[in-house]
Amino acid sequence: MIDPAWVSGLAAILFIIGLWGAFSRKNAIVVLMCIELMLNAVNLQFVAAASHWGDVTGWVYAVFAIAIAAAEVAIGLAIFLSMYGQHETISLDEVNLLKN
């Protein structure tokens, strides 16, 4: 069995890539995907920890986290759609009416 430490490390790398992507990419969809990446890192982490502790709760947490991610995607896409309807772009940099 793989040492949970490796999995955790992978999760950490995934998380950082996700975070980095979240603020370096302009396309809202890509940003959403990056957020999903972060949540996947979380899932991975939970699973790894669960296997480390031999505890079932971690898996349950992971399942819930997946559900949360799903809900987030649903809502996110809907919100992006309405943004596209009004601003006709999905570039986050160009949506900056509200500032200061």
């Binding site: 975070l19 959403l32 957020i35 979380v42 939970f46 920890a49 709760t57 809502i75 943004m83 949506v95």
Partner: protein, 583 residues
């Protein structure tokens, strides 16, 4: 000494939580009894789903021609299909639930009820959680009362504009989301497991993302929704990752487990703590995680923004209290301050200063209120810092200091509902006749409607912390808490050196200096209202809006009454803080 003092109080009996602690399994009979108010919410939510959809549809039993009335769908009934129904239903639901909770809590003799699933404690009803649920429900109730006018339902008859048709169509959606927010927040308040807490947080958050972007036909509404969603998601992603690290470190996300093992944790726990802090920091809009908040408030309609500034902030504050005070405080036997002490102190000072400075020049009243709520977050975080500063091993009854401070924070969160939300509701009233995102929208308000103008001015004074309003009382309590913690037991010595006073005293000074700065922008609102002439198109009297005015009056009365005589509420706060069992 303090212990003796407090044992003499009627509502505080030692060990009440252990004696009366009742543990119930999920979905048992006792469970339903204990969660009656929440069940009201759930039922109300279901009703808002169902009732507008009641119609004359029939269900044909397959292979037959028998049509059984099914009542869902089809041609809607005239009475239940009225667009006004969801609002009324939601308001009634919230009112009922809130009433039940208040009746349950106000006398003070409340046993705590724990919900367990196996050996995992999921939820706990106690003074603390009930207190927060009251805050949440009150805020959402006032907001939905206001929304009855803000997003008005129009009757079917007659010709309607496009906006009116939009408004009619989304009545149910709006109130469903409001109720969902309330439910999610209640879950946060009740949660005894950090993951459950996070689930509740996500439930409430997802609903508020939609609420912020609710006016999707306006550019700013859509934009606000996007920003709030994106930044919020990232923040909760970071928070969740922190949770996962905590789980990795301790093997459980139970608050009790975490608290018991905290002192044995490694650096991983500290890192996880930092990540979780980010998640909640976004919710309380602490700098530098607050950036989306002003945009969101400005884009959302005012009652929703009010909920974000009060209830949502309180929700984040629960998270902070749970994580920082319940989990991450050193054991009462060790001599030392909390590991997050400097972090939180820095954050709080930065937050309050940033908020106030930004608000100082802001000419959009909603953004100004948003920045001011950032500043208020800073004040509360300063209070939490004071709890962490105390050297736990050196005094007899440290919990009393901590409890007093937490009580002050709770008081602040509670009265914030009165005057911060009240201010947003006044802006909501103005939004009914056009935008409220320019300072000039407020000009001449006192002349157009003296009572509303005066109410707004009183809200502003309360925000600034002018006595004898609730805002002063809450700031006074917060600072008193900080100072009492910094002074500690020094007073019994007779002779005190200033250097003996803990440095967190300076947080009190920073807080007061900040609130002095803040007077400037709060007063500016008053000056504009009382001095300027109304702008073009706003010469007529204000829209009537019976229920939004009612909501404003409630806020106003609460602002004044809680300032003049806050004793009942302070006792409630104190009981709530006690039930945290900090010591």
């Amino acid at each position: 000494m303090i212990g003796q003092l407090h044992s003499s109080r009627v509502y505080s009996t030692e060990g009440v939580s252990e004696m009366d602690n009742e543990s119930v399994e999920v979905f048992s009979t006792e469970f339903w009894q204990a969660f009656a108010p929440e069940m009201v919410l759930v039922i109300g939510l279901a009703l808002v789903f169902i009732v507008p959809n009641l119609g004359n549809s029939k269900f044909r039993i397959p292979l037959t021609k028998v049509q059984v009335p099914w009542f869902l769908g089809g041609r809607r009934f005239k009475i239940t299909g009225s667009p006004a129904i969801p609002g009324i239903l939601a308001t009634a639901t919230l009112f009922t639930a809130l009433g039940m909770m208040i009746i349950e809590t106000i006398d003070g003799d409340m046993a705590s009820t724990t919900v367990t699933s196996g050996d995992i404690v999921l939820l706990q009803i106690d003074n603390f959680s009930r207190f927060f649920e009251i805050i949440f429900l009150a805020a959402v109730l006032l907001a939905s009362m206001a929304s009855l006018d803000r997003i008005p339902a129009h009757t079917f008859s007659g010709k309607k504009s496009l906006d009116e048709m939009y408004d009619n169509r989304r009545q149910a959606d709006f109130y469903i989301l409001m109720l969902t927010t309330a439910l999610g927040m209640s879950t946060v308040a009740l949660a005894q497991d950090l993951f459950v807490l996070f689930i509740g947080l996500e439930l409430a958050s997802l609903a508020t993302y939609v609420l912020v972007g609710f006016h999707k036909e306006s550019k700013s509404g859509a934009e606000a929704g996007v920003k709030y969603f994106i930044v919020g998601s990232v923040a909760s992603g970071i928070g969740l990752y922190g949770l996962s690290l905590l789980y990795l470190e301790f093997g459980s996300l139970q608050l009790t487990t975490l608290a018991a093992n905290w002192d044995d944790g490694s650096i991983l726990g500290t890192i996880a703590l930092g990540l979780v802090l980010v998640g909640f920091g976004f919710k309380v809009s602490a700098a530098p995680f607050h950036f989306a908040a002003p945009d969101a408030y400005a884009g959302a309609n005012s009652p929703v923004a009010g909920v974000l500034a009060t209830a949502s902030k309180a929700m984040g504050m629960i998270g902070l209290i749970r994580v920082l005070l319940v989990v991450a405080l050193p054991d009462s036997q060790t001599d030392g301050s909390a590991v997050w002490l400097y972090t939180l102190a820095t954050l709080s000072v930065v937050t309050m200063t940033w908020g106030n400075l930004a608000a100082l020049g802001s000419t959009n009243p909603k953004r100004m209120l948003a920045y001011s709520s950032v500043a208020h977050a800073g004040y509360m975080m300063a209070a939490l810092t004071a709890v962490g500063a105390w050297k736990w091993g050196e005094v007899d009854a440290p919990a009393d200091y901590a409890e007093a401070i937490v009580a002050a924070v709770l008081f602040h969160l509670c009265v914030l509902v009165a005057f911060k939300l009240g201010a947003f509701l006044v802006l909501g009233l103005l939004e009914m006749e056009g935008g409220a995102s320019r300072l000039s929208a407020l000009s001449g308000l006192a002349r157009r409607d003296p009572l509303i103008g005066t109410a707004m001015f009183i809200f502003m004074l309360a925000l600034a912390g002018v006595p004898p309003l609730a805002g002063f009382m809450s700031k006074f309590l917060v600072v008193a808490g900080i100072v009492s913690a910094s002074v500690g037991e020094l007073s019994t010595n007779g002779s005190v050196s200033f250097s003996d006073i803990h440095w967190i005293w300076w947080l009190a000074l920073a807080m007061f200096l900040n609130s002095a700065i803040s007077v400037f922008y709060y007063l500016r609102i008053g000056v504009v209202m009382f001095l300027d002439t109304p702008e073009e198109g706003r010469r007529k009297p204000l829209p009537h809006g019976a229920s939004i005015r009612m909501a404003i009056w409630i806020c106003l009365v609460a602002t004044i009454i809680l300032g003049l005589s806050g004793d009942t509420l302070i006792d409630m706060c104190y009981r709530a803080a006690e039930s945290l069992n900090l010591a």
